[in-house]
Amino acid sequence: MNLKSYINATKNLEEHSRQCYAETIILSSDEFVEMMLLDACFLVELFHSGDFSTKMPGRVSDSGNSLVPFSPEVPDPIIYPLHHGLTLPISRLSISWSRGNCLRVSFFPKPSPDPCREDSGNSNGEIGGKVVEVKLSSGDGEIDDAQERRIAYGSVSPFALLQSRKNSFSELSRMSMSSSSYHVDWWEHVMEYSRDIDSLLGNPKPPPSSAIEDPKTVLKTVEEPTCLKAAWELMEIFYVDKQSQAWLSERLVDWLADYDSLLSGTEVTVHSKLVDLQKELVDLQAIEDDPKYWEGISSALAVGWLEIAVKLLRLHGSYQLHQLGKRETENGLVETVAVLVSKMPRMRPELAAGRLGECFKTKPDFIKAWEKWRGNITKLDCSGYWIECDHRQTKEGLRKILQIMLGNTDILSNTTCHWMELYISHFLYIRPFTMGLEGMYSLAQKCMQLKLMSTPHKLMGLILGILGENTEVVLAECSRAFGPWMVAHAIELLTAGSNQAEILLHEERYNLGGISIEELHRLVYAQVLSSHALTWQIAPIYLMSCTKQGMGLLEILLYKQPVHHNKTLLKILEICRLYELNSLGSDIMKIAGIYHWKHGRKGAGVFWLQQAQDEARLNRIAQQLFDFVGKSICDESFKQWEGLIELLGSGVRSAGGLEFLHKYRDFKKSLQQVHDGKTIDAARQAVESLILLMRNPSTPQRFWLPLLHDSLKLLSWQERPLLSVSETNLLLNKLQELSMSRLRPDFCEADLPPQALSSVRLALATNLGRAILEIKGIKLGTVIILCKLESMLWFCWSLDFSLGVLGLRAVDGSCFALIELIIGLSIAAQLMRYYNHHHLGVHLQSEFTLRMDENNIITPEEETETALHHKGTLATSPIITFTFRSVEYQQYN
């Protein structure tokens, strides 16, 4: 990449870039490109200088402390044009994150200065802008999003299991204080974890094999391997599997056999060579004449694919029956080499079925066998049969094969393609006795110098990191090449057996805000999970394994989730329940409650607020609900309310002010029964619920009068007074309170006939009088008859009116109650007298005195007497006089 290519790239975009400016740029083409390029350099520099984000790990600003090595060389910039279809120029551009990995780019065209022109000429005039969604993908497309999610889902269980085992292990070791047994078993757990994850990464299902094997199929068709799986297995080999330490090189041979095809993506490899050969094999008649055939055999042998080498050898023309006689020596040589290849000693515990070579578990055995095998090869190499072999290609090819087995460096280097292949061949034929990691790194570097890579494969960085025993590099390579999933899960492998790595990764770091590298990577992965609508639910599992920041981020994550759908909401609440985030849960329920309430789903709103035990909000919405009730509650619409009232329950759960509704419904119900059946029991019940309602402080004031008005029938019950004296007093008090508040400007008048208040007051007064009479054992029958007198009622009404005025003056409540009492009594007395029941009148008088005494008021006996015994005439004036007097008396007191 040089400056020229940058200039060219910018030049190609010149036309487009110019149109992105609102004004015309008066610069020549070269000047314009120069400006663009300089600006771009500035931006790149700005991003790299670290001024942007000093806290981000891995920025070069803190080159000393950076965790992830940052290579300053920038890979080729790739420019993707976006098509928006708007006429230029664009005045504004806005970029934001959309769903998942989508970027939402909004284009706003320059508003036309002349609206008339826009209407006439511009065809795009009606378009106010355009939104383009740009899907960002990880690039190579090896694993698609759905597959990535499947891996994420699948790795949850192994990860969670490992974490819980880790916790119980650390508890155990803390108890017994012996950490030695910890490491012995621990790697086996990690191994199990690693196997579980590994099985997710590739398809374990072998492809269906046909019963008859085609002899010409040299390479088995296998499922396309993925780099992710290759990387995972590589880390498993080096970090977890303690048993493989003794035969590391053999593991690497196997690994390359599985994943060599991956490397062919960027370079020529043995695998790609063999794939080409495979294609040609079908058409070739005498394959032994073709140099590619021999090349294929030596290459396969060099990287240890003995089966392929032997299979290819046996395709040699000399095996054909009609040729066997003519080419006996040749065939003998080929077969001897094939046998030698298949007898190659290998130091490994076992070989899978169908694999060639001889296994040796211990080093001394292996060395012995190796020497013998090498001896046989040398013997064959020096034998006289070669002279008898006529076929030149066969002779040369076979001798080359022998040279490979004897470890000829030059030939090995020529037959292999990738440095990894050369590296493997060194282990196989030059230094078969290498144990462990000793010298592996320097050898790798030597091989890389011999086989230069044009573009490094992403697995190579990881391999070098592992061989160089540099945990930081390994992590950085995992992160760079395979993303957050890999890092978060591979950390478990890194720490499996190495104390050093464990210290490095678990150490809390100041520059990371006090968290460890392990936690950092888990948090990053959890963030990635959180960003997707389908994977956010598994993020908590990773967040919970982060001791420092996990809980806080989990709360933020849960807060951010939308609560529109009940299903999602319940899933969020389930997570809150699992992690005992009760207050968060109730906050979310509150949000949901308000959301439903605002969208007209009152029942759902009330339900969620009730679940959240949010008294304050329930009270607030109760007021709105009562407005609704005030308008709609009538006997027909009650069906609608039934359900909500059932939902509110009977007071066990908190309902805020809404419990009023429940009582209101009970009252309405019994009132209904009264109207239908008129039984005294039902009436009594109705009165009870009325009193309950009126006593309850949560009953809104605006309901008082309608309630009382509704129950007029109860207040003036014909057979007997249903309310006791104290109950009547209570109601009268409430009524008075109501009259007072009527004067306040914010009072809202109930939708009732104008005389409602008066008729209620009258009924109450009558009831009071009757109640008192009943206490004294007076037969009520007579009184009831009197009550019917229309004229009497009107008289009382006028009386009541004057009292109402009085009541306003009497600030003391008890005083007012007294007045009501007096009125009640006096009405009764008047009534008695009207029907010439003088003895009753007398009786009432004593009652009156008694009451006055109870209220600690010294009764002005004479005056009362005057009032009561006013010569038996029915006149309003004395009574009024009397009441005035008594009030004046009280005020005087």
Binding site: L534, Q537, L570, H596, G603, Q611, G643
Partner: protein, 354 residues
């Protein structure tokens, strides 16, 4: 494979079908031929925000797409009428529209479709629908508090509103009991019983506060057995599965979860019960000896990944335990040993009990 259970584990065969989309709902579709097995899936792709209804044929261990249809919005509820000669698929959406699909009874290709647009039936999402056995009547309920009946004609859909609570009561599930009666469920573990012959409101309702505990729940699904039409089965929050016998209305019968007076039935789950169905497979052994008041065995699926069979007064039998939620399941009515269930992690499991 996580299969825990008493006596069922070895008799269970599980096939898993990973999908690359979220499964909103699924149902068996009874085809004309007994050898075919069809499955209706309602899928949602959250990346493109696209939904689809797909009919797959199930042969051996493969799902083959037969036909598909694109709904205007995400599917909230999916029902299939179980008449083999004239199958019907009804689907409601979160936007509030209702769609009736007519698949071909032989190859399940979609022949025609009838729909009611959004905002005609409900304001906001439709939360539950149910098709009558004959398939010509459909009830749908919503959180807006409306209950609608839809008559499925040959070329058009007619609907009428049965009730509107103006949002005071929200309904979450519905199920037909008889041609005239149906049950609904809603917030506060409440159930309502409706009779088309008695208009103007629910004829009966189970009081929502029966649990007497400090927290209540939501009924997510209800089921009514065709042979016991007086019993309404419901699955709700906190692992609760209960039955409401219309003949004894005051108290529900708790099959799982916490009941009144803290008499807890053994619950296989502690979280939301997303789906319940009477399990015809389990009942076949001893149905004759059961009294009519006894509740038939019930299969339930829950948020914590449990698929279990619960029976009154007996230990629950865990059929499947998954690491993720089981969002819905369906028992094949023709062959009750087959159960299909949808898992939260974008996959389908088909269980065959033997």
């Amino acid at each position: 494979m996580a299969v825990i259970g008493t006596g069922l584990a070895e008799k269970l065969k599980i096939h898993r079908f990973p999908q690359s989309k979220y499964i909103d709902a699924l149902r068996w579709l009874s085809p004309l031929s007994a050898s075919d097995r069809f499955v209706v899936l309602a899928l949602h792709d959250s990346d493109s925000d696209a939904s689809s209804i797909e009919i797959h044929a199930l042969d051996h261990s493969n799902l083959n797409l037969q036909s598909s249809w694109i709904p205007p919005s995400r599917i909230s509820s999916l029902r299939v009428s179980q008449t083999p000669h004239k199958p019907l698929v009804a689907a409601s959406t979160f936007a509030g529209s209702l769609h009736i699909l007519f698949p071909d009874p032989v190859d399940a290709s979609l022949e025609s479709e009838l729909s009611l647009p959004e905002n005609s039936l409900h304001i906001g999402p439709i939360s539950g629908i149910d098709l009558q056995g004959s398939g010509c009547e459909c009830v749908c309920v919503g959180e807006d508090g409306r209950v609608n009946l839809i008559h499925v004609g040959d070329s058009r859909l007619n609907y009428c509103q049965v009730f509107d609570s103006h949002g005071l009561v929200s309904y979450t599930a519905a199920k037909w009991a008889s041609p005239a009666e149906f049950g609904t469920g809603g917030f506060g573990h409440s159930l309502q019983w409706w009779d088309q012959r008695k208009p103007g409101g629910a004829v009966s309702q189970l009081k929502g506060n029966w649990a007497q505990s400090t927290s209540s729940g939501i009924v997510h699904c209800i089921d009514i057995h065709p042979s016991r039409k007086h019993i309404c089965l419901a699955g709700g929050s906190a692992g609760t599965v209960f039955a409401w016998d219309l003949r004894w209305q005051q108290q529900p019968i708790i099959l799982s979860g916490i009941g009144p007076g803290e008499t807890a039935a053994i619950s296989p789950s502690e979280s939301e019960v997303w789906e319940v169905q009477f399990d015809c497979y389990m009942q076949s052994s001893n149905i004759s000896s059961m009294s009519s008041s006894r509740i038939l065995p019930v299969m339930m699926a829950s948020e914590d990944g449990i698929l279990a069979v619960v029976e009154q007064g007996e230990e629950p039998i865990e059929v499947l335990a998954e690491p993720c939620a089981i969002n819905s399941f369906d028992i094949n009515q023709q062959n009750p040993s087959d159960v299909i269930c949808s898992l939260e992690w974008e996959s389908i499991a088909i269980l065959t009990r033997r």
